[in-house]
């Protein structure tokens, strides 16, 4: 006992002996004005842009961020509880720009934008920090997008494919399944060698709590980090949340891994930035947003990239979400973000209420990266599907007027109805890419034409089940080779025909 005691004392002595007193020259200022999460500070002559500040208050230390550097004062946003700060409080420069802890320890955790855990599972041990604001990778380091992100959603994987390193906007009104698409995509990344980061900006904490529970239940939390700036957090935290999430993603990018990052949603982010800007007295522009609101999102989304092999070959795929008001896509923020991203998934209220969910509009949704982000097998079966899906909606509207239709149009309508039925998909039920190819193959080759429209979903479910037992070899081959050989096509066809022989609801 005493031996260990001596040992501890010895160790302490050693530590104390090794302790060097050092005197640092610190820059300090004083708060001259405080309110609404914004502080005006005098002094701090050598402060850097977006440098971290430390407010010494009666309640303890609070962090801040210098945003406005003026002639004789500094405008700072406060990252945390600003009620304890009083006029005249001391403010210190920390001589580092805002940074967040990164590392493998953040996987599976719920953190706030400063990297402080919110899930009550203990401290995050990270010894490395990344700056929150970082210049996006340059042209030399990049490569064109060529590998797919399998979202597991049939309508998206088939007609609006997303590639690794792409930025695909999800846009639509409230309560229409925008977040659902993003969450389904995260759930489907299991075993796809992908890390996921979900950044909740101004979301209800109840919604985030149920989301985390869902991710945990499906096992998706094992590769996902949730960055939460809730609706009750100050605008300053909402403002830095997506950048913090992106910094965390960049850690995995630098390790050569693939990351999927969801910003849910950027319209609330723009609103938070507008609040900060107005309080900092920056001049308002259109819709009262400041002049640099485009740069706000472009510098964030530009950090999504696909790096070439020499630079590690990692990627960051961004799925920003924008909420429109009553379907108004031509408002300021939606048009900005549409022009920044490589395509958008537009969710349509009419489709949603008709029951075709996810309510992806085939006509207005595009992926500018396109089929280079699809595996060859999918390209073969889904090639013309986007056009067909878009044409079907026009034809269906047109066909309401007259009953006399030529055979060609009738066939197209029948095919379109079945396609629309196949695109219907429940939440949290991603479909593997091999199964998707199988069902699309059945459709485009007319093998589903004799299935009644209302039985399509039953047909589909049965087909997956049948294929899992009798066609396991075929599915495996599609997944491994990622291409359809003639032989494989014949095998697929016979598999589907065999399955159909057991059905009793086919149209004779």
């Amino acid at each position: 006992m005493s031996a260990t005691k001596d040992f501890i004392v010895e160790q302490l002595k050693e530590q104390i002996a090794g302790f060097k007193t050092e005197v640092k020259r610190e820059t300090v200022g004083r708060v001259i004005e405080i309110g609404d999460g914004i502080a005006m500070v005098e002094g701090l002559a050598e402060v850097m842009m977006s440098e971290m500040l430390e407010f010494k208050t009666a309640k303890g230390l609070v962090f801040g961020l210098a945003l406005n550097l003026e002639e004789d004062r500094v405008g700072a946003i406060i990252l945390g509880d600003y009620f304890g700060i009083k006029q005249g409080d001391e403010v210190r420069c920390l001589n580092k720009i805002l940074e967040v802890p990164i590392g493998d320890a953040i996987i599976g955790r719920v953190v706030n934008p400063l990297g402080v855990p919110l899930d009550g599972q203990g401290e995050i041990k990270a010894d490395k920090f990344y700056p929150v604001e970082k210049i996006a990778p340059g042209v030399i380091t990049r490569e064109s997008v060529k590998e797919p992100v399998q979202t597991g959603i049939k309508a998206i994987d088939a007609i609006i494919p997303i590639g690794r390193g792409q930025r695909e906007l999800i846009i639509g009104d409230r309560q229409i399944g925008k977040s659902a698409i993003a969450i389904d995509a995260i759930i489907n990344q299991k075993g796809q060698n992908m890390k996921c980061i979900y950044v909740a900006i101004g979301q209800k904490e109840s919604k985030v709590a149920s989301l985390v529970a869902r991710l945990e239940q499906t096992g998706a939390l094992a590769y996902t980090t949730v960055v939460l700036a809730g609706a009750s957090d100050p605008a300053a935290l909402l403002y830095i949340a997506p950048y913090a999430g992106c910094a965390m993603a960049e850690y995995f990018l630098d390790k050569g891994q693939d990351v999927l990052i969801v910003y849910d949603d950027l319209s609330k982010h723009a609103v938070a930035y507008r609040e900060i800007s107005l309080l900092l007295r920056r001049p308002p522009g259109r819709e009262a947003y400041p002049g640099d609101v485009f740069y706000l999102h472009s510098r964030l989304l530009e950090r999504a990239c696909k790096l070439s092999q020499e630079y590690g070959g990692g990627s960051i795929t961004a799925l920003p979400i924008i909420e429109t008001q009553a379907g108004d896509m031509s408002a300021y923020i939606p048009t900005n973000v549409i022009s920044i991203t490589d395509g958008q998934i537009y969710l349509m209220p009419e489709l949603f209420y008709q029951g075709s969910r996810p309510a992806v509009d085939a006509g207005l949704s595009v992926s500018r990266v396109g089929s280079s982000a699809q595996i060859k097998a999918m390209k073969k079966v889904a090639g013309k599907m986007k056009l067909e899906a878009a044409q079907f909606r026009e034809l269906a509207a047109f066909a309401q007027f007259g009953s006399e239709l030529d055979k060609d149009t009738k066939d197209k309508l029948e095919r379109g109805k079945r396609l629309q039925e196949i695109f219907k998909q429940g939440q949290y039920s991603p479909v593997s890419v091999a199964n998707q190819i199988l069902i699309f193959y059945a459709l485009v080759n007319g093998l589903a034409d004799d299935v009644p429209v209302d039985k399509i979903s039953e047909f589909e479910r049965g087909l997956y089940k049948y294929a899992a037992t009798s066609g396991a070899k075929i599915l495996k081959e599609i997944e491994e080779k990622k291409d359809l050989s003639d032989k494989l096509e014949v095998e697929m066809k016979s598999l589907i025909m065999d399955y159909k022989n057991n059905l009793d609801y086919l149209i004779k």
Binding site: L12, I16, F19, T21, K24, T27, G43, A45
Partner: protein, 133 residues
């Protein structure tokens, strides 16, 4: 347009810079008249403070404050003055002293918006943090 305190201070500095004491007297008299005219006499103390800042900056004077627990002796004050002059690049250092038992020992120097904390209290706090780690 409203003339700011800073602008008044600057113009006063420019008016008195390089003038003989008798000239300065008349300049100040005129300046006070101007303040009365512009209804700015109420801000006179602020203008004076701003003027002092400009004057110090232009003439390389730095005002510093040394806080110690038990007061400083002459030799130490001289050392400190030289040290601050070296750090800030000033020609003259006006050192004010303050006694604060709370810092336990050592000295805290502050000038402009800079602080050099060499107090025993801060060192002990740092040691405490290090030991906790």
């Amino acid at each position: 347009m409203k003339i700011t305190v800073k602008q008044f201070a600057w113009s006063l500095y420019e008016a008195v810079d390089g003038k003989s004491p008798s000239q300065v007297k008349s300049v100040i008299k005129k300046f006070i008249e101007l303040l009365v005219d512009k209804n700015m006499l109420i801000k006179a103390d602020k203008i004076a403070a701003e003027f002092l800042k400009i004057w110090n900056e232009k003439n390389g004077i730095v005002e510093a404050l040394a806080t110690s627990a038990n007061g400083l002796d002459k030799a130490n004050i001289k050392l400190l003055k030289n040290y601050i002059a070296e750090l800030s690049g000033a020609k003259t250092v006006l050192l004010n002293e303050k006694i604060d038992k709370n810092i336990l020992g050592g000295v805290v120097i502050s000038y402009g918006d800079k602080i050099l904390d060499a107090s025993l209290k801060t060192s002990l706090n740092n040691l405490k943090e290090k030991l906790i780690k």
